[in-house]
Symmetry: C2
């Protein structure tokens, strides 16, 4: 083995504990063909929210393209290749701080994937996907399920279909 190859392997080993690809085995793609993004659990924070209508806490994360766009204000439109993920939990009492609400049961992870050419046909330039529960069951009965996503996101069409504003973070 060459010394340089060894160096590459050391670099890969150093970044692998957290950034390694998940096994992904067993998680079915969404009915529109979208695959669960690899390593979404390792993505960086874009924002957060607490929906008081359906009692859920959310953390919005992004892949590298999305996070870079969020931090540099390139969010209308978001760049091709950006993926935003929403990690959603039912709200629960923070056991040790009574005046706080914390994540309870995991509800779902959902994603918006930007590709203005590949997803031009649905009129948005985005594709949507969601995996429900810890069993990560793909949401939707057929490929048309994303019409529901688009309908809900139509009020923010002028914001490139995205509700989230990146949180201020120095």
């Amino acid at each position: 083995m060459s010394y340089n190859l060894l160096k590459i392997m050391i670099i890969l080993a150093l970044i692998s504990p957290v950034y390694a690809a998940r096994d992904g085995g067993g998680v079915e793609p969404a009915p529109n063909g979208i695959e669960l993004p690899e390593n979404y659990r390792d993505w960086s924070v874009v924002s957060s929210s607490h929906r008081i209508d359906n009692h859920t806490l959310r953390v919005i994360v992004g892949n590298e393209i999305a996070v870079k766009a969020a931090r540099t204000g390139q969010t209308n439109p978001w760049p091709n290749g950006a993926i935003l993920g929403k990690l959603v939990w039912k709200e629960a009492a923070q056991q040790h701080w009574p005046k706080a609400i914390a994540p309870g049961k995991f509800v779902h992870a959902e994603f918006m994937i930007k590709d203005s050419q590949a997803y031009e046909n649905n009129g948005t330039g985005w594709q949507w996907a969601r995996w429900v529960g810890t069993e990560q069951k793909p949401y939707g009965n057929d490929a048309d399920f994303s019409k529901e996503c688009i309908s809900c996101h139509t009020p923010v069409k002028s914001r490139d279909w995205v509700f989230t504003s990146p949180a201020q973070l120095p």
Copy 2:
């Protein structure tokens, strides 16, 4: 330039946009000597909370050691080298979804750093630090400021001084 060196540079370039060290210039260490952790903005999500007593939204993130520990249940005690970060914002209305609360003004980023030997003297095995506002002003007038942190965390002494329970995430 050798081909292998080129490969290393390509790998570094690929991981650099998000994982690059922050410039760090200008951010003063905490009065107890703790430096602002590099790249904390890029860390992965451990949990989230909404404190209704002081009207703040929080995302709890961790360095690689902490995230690995969180995912494998090694949290009592947390391993040496683990750093937990709390990103804190004032709550605000989600402009485009009236029934949601979203991050408003950035309040502070605060950290707990585990080293059972280095920080054995304060009786916890942890050290604390906080940087306030987007100006990232170190919190505390002198090195004793962490007594305030420890006092507040004493109710969770039996949980290795940590309030946060890692959120369920498949």
